[in-house]
């Protein structure tokens, strides 16, 4: 089975043709560099993504703090991870880079704060 993909590794946007053979092997053409071939093999077996969201803050100058994953996780884990993110809240102050959830769902990625929220002044 042949499928056409646009490589999203860099802005060059190579059009890749992946030929998926009956034994599961994948032959790739059209890639301008080796990263394209590697990307498509990952993409076909277990694509990885990062996501951003926000977490509730108690006692802060703002209601929420923005968060993201520290490294890509398998796409299939995104919704379960969102459920975990929705469950937590943090108490101000929060600093950029703070780990909000360590190794979320054993994915190897942390949920980290990407902005700072000061404590609300009395």
């Amino acid at each position: 089975m042949k499928k056409i993909y646009t490589c999203i590794i860099c802005p060059r946007s190579c059009e890749l043709e992946a030929d998926i053979l009956p034994d599961g092997q994948v032959s790739v053409s059209g890639n301008g560099c080796p990263r394209g071939a590697e990307w498509i093999r990952n993409e076909l077996s277990d694509p990885k993504r990062t996501i951003a969201s926000s977490v509730l803050v108690e006692g802060g100058e703002k209601e929420i703090v923005s968060v993201r994953l520290s490294s890509p996780v398998p796409l299939r884990m995104i919704f379960p991870i969102m459920d975990e993110i929705r469950k937590v809240s943090v108490t101000a102050p929060v600093s950029i880079g703070d780990i909000i959830i360590r190794d979320v769902l054993s994915s190897g990625a942390d949920v980290i704060a990407t902005s700072s929220v000061l404590a609300k002044k009395e």
Partner: protein, 408 residues
């Protein structure tokens, strides 16, 4: 009236990068004026990652990019007037601004205008129908969710395939809303392929090209939209109407700079980009007023806007020291296949780089910078697409003939 050195208007990825560069070059008096109460500009609400690969060598989110720039500015003791809106700039570089302490007047030796751009709204694309609540630009929906913790709605339709619209399709989906579809008037997506894959395909959100919203329905809150296919001239095709129920319509239909302030200062404006016409030093038609970033022309990446800011800073610094060669005045004209160029004119004194967007997607094309029969520079591209800004280096132009940029 206060006399200051170089004043930067806007504290986003362009303005802060310009200010930091100015101080590093040795400029002693640098003042940044920012309308919002915090620095960072649009980066503050762009919580997705993909920023910083060029400037910081790693993929980070918008707020992190803003924080890194802010700490660079703080280390260099850069003064920033926040909560201050520029009302007027005069031809002699006197800035009138509304600040928390009242109206201030500042005279600058040089100005870098870096106030970013605005989103096209429903008014700019004239969608017929009723005027209910629930119609947002993508950036407004993004601010609601990422800054103020408010869901814009539960069942959205997105018009336009700009990057922020695609990013919001994913964000809404992850937060539990349904996104029925994204409709794009053109026959090609407007956003990065990377975002089509990661924001739509991953979540099975369909993208319909050559389609547009032809009517908005709903009395108080939007209840649905009529969508039609369009022909080659972008006109809706009768009989193709389809109704989509929704409680939210998100518009991601393009960005455009608002340069009223520069226009009032007498700066010549490019009717295509709506930004200032600048020379290769990024100086506008009013000496000492420079422009960069999305206020000059809409960029694809914040990193590129920051890089352009550094070039503007170098030249503004030279100008303020009386060392900038302003030279002659040759026009750079977009020719066959080119929608616009920056710069729009050049001094002819040295080599220069042209940034441009092409009119249509084409394969295996060369972009040429020509003056009469002479080729000043060219570059081959395996693929050119309108949604990607490209650049070509060129050698100095001689004489007084205009320079033309073409795709061939």
């Amino acid at each position: 009236m206060e006399n200051r050195g170089i004043v930067v208007i806007g504290a986003g990825p362009t303005g802060l990068a310009a200010a930091v560069k100015l101080r590093r070059l040795g400029a002693e008096d640098v003042l940044v004026i920012e309308r919002e109460n915090e620095t960072g500009g649009i980066l503050r609400q762009c919580i997705h990652d993909g920023f910083g690969l060029e400037r910081f060598g790693k993929s980070i989110s918008g707020p992190e990019y803003a924080a890194l720039l802010k700490s660079e500015a703080e280390e260099l003791d850069i003064e920033c007037l926040t909560g201050t809106s520029v009302l007027e700039i005069s031809k002699d570089r006197t800035i009138t601004a509304a600040s928390p302490s009242g109206v201030v007047e500042i005279h600058a030796e040089a100005i870098i205008a870096a106030a970013g751009c605005r989103e096209r709204s429903r008014g700019s694309i004239m969608i017929p129908g009723e005027r209910p609540a629930g119609v947002y630009t993508a950036g407004t929906a993004q601010a609601y969710m990422n800054l103020y913790n408010r869901m814009p709605g539960r069942n959205a339709v997105i018009l336009g395939s700009g990057d922020i619209g695609l990013i919001m399709a994913r964000r809404l989906t992850l937060e539990g809303a349904k996104v029925s579809a994204v409709f794009e008037l053109q026959d090609h997506p407007n956003g990065l392929e990377r975002n089509i894959v990661q924001c739509l395909d991953d979540y099975s959100i369909p993208l319909y090209l050559s389609h547009t919203v032809t009517e908005i329905h709903g009395k108080d809150r939007i209840e649905g939209v009529t969508v039609s296919a369009v022909d080659g001239n972008l006109k809706p095709i009768e009989g193709t109407e389809k109704y989509y129920p929704c409680d939210t319509l998100i518009l991601s239909v393009g960005l455009i700079p608002d340069n009223t302030i520069l226009e009032n200062a007498g700066v010549e404006i490019d009717p295509v980009t709506n930004g200032a016409v600048v020379d290769e030093h990024l100086m506008t038609s009013v000496p000492g007023i420079f422009s960069a970033g999305n206020m000059l022309h809409v960029h694809d990446l914040a990193d590129f806007a920051s890089a352009e800011a550094e070039a503007a800073a170098e030249n503004a610094f030279l100008y303020a020291s009386g060392k900038l060669d302003t030279g002659r005045n040759l026009s750079v004209v977009p020719g066959e296949g080119v929608s616009h160029t920056v710069p729009g004119r050049i001094t002819g004194h040295g080599p220069f780089t042209v940034s441009l967007r092409v009119r249509k997607k084409e394969r295996g094309k060369t972009v040429e910078v020509r003056q009469g029969g002479k080729i000043l520079g060219y570059r081959f591209f395996p693929l050119v697409i309108p949604s990607q800004m490209i650049s070509v280096d060129a050698e100095a132009a001689a004489g007084c003939e205009n320079v033309e940029v073409i795709v061939r």
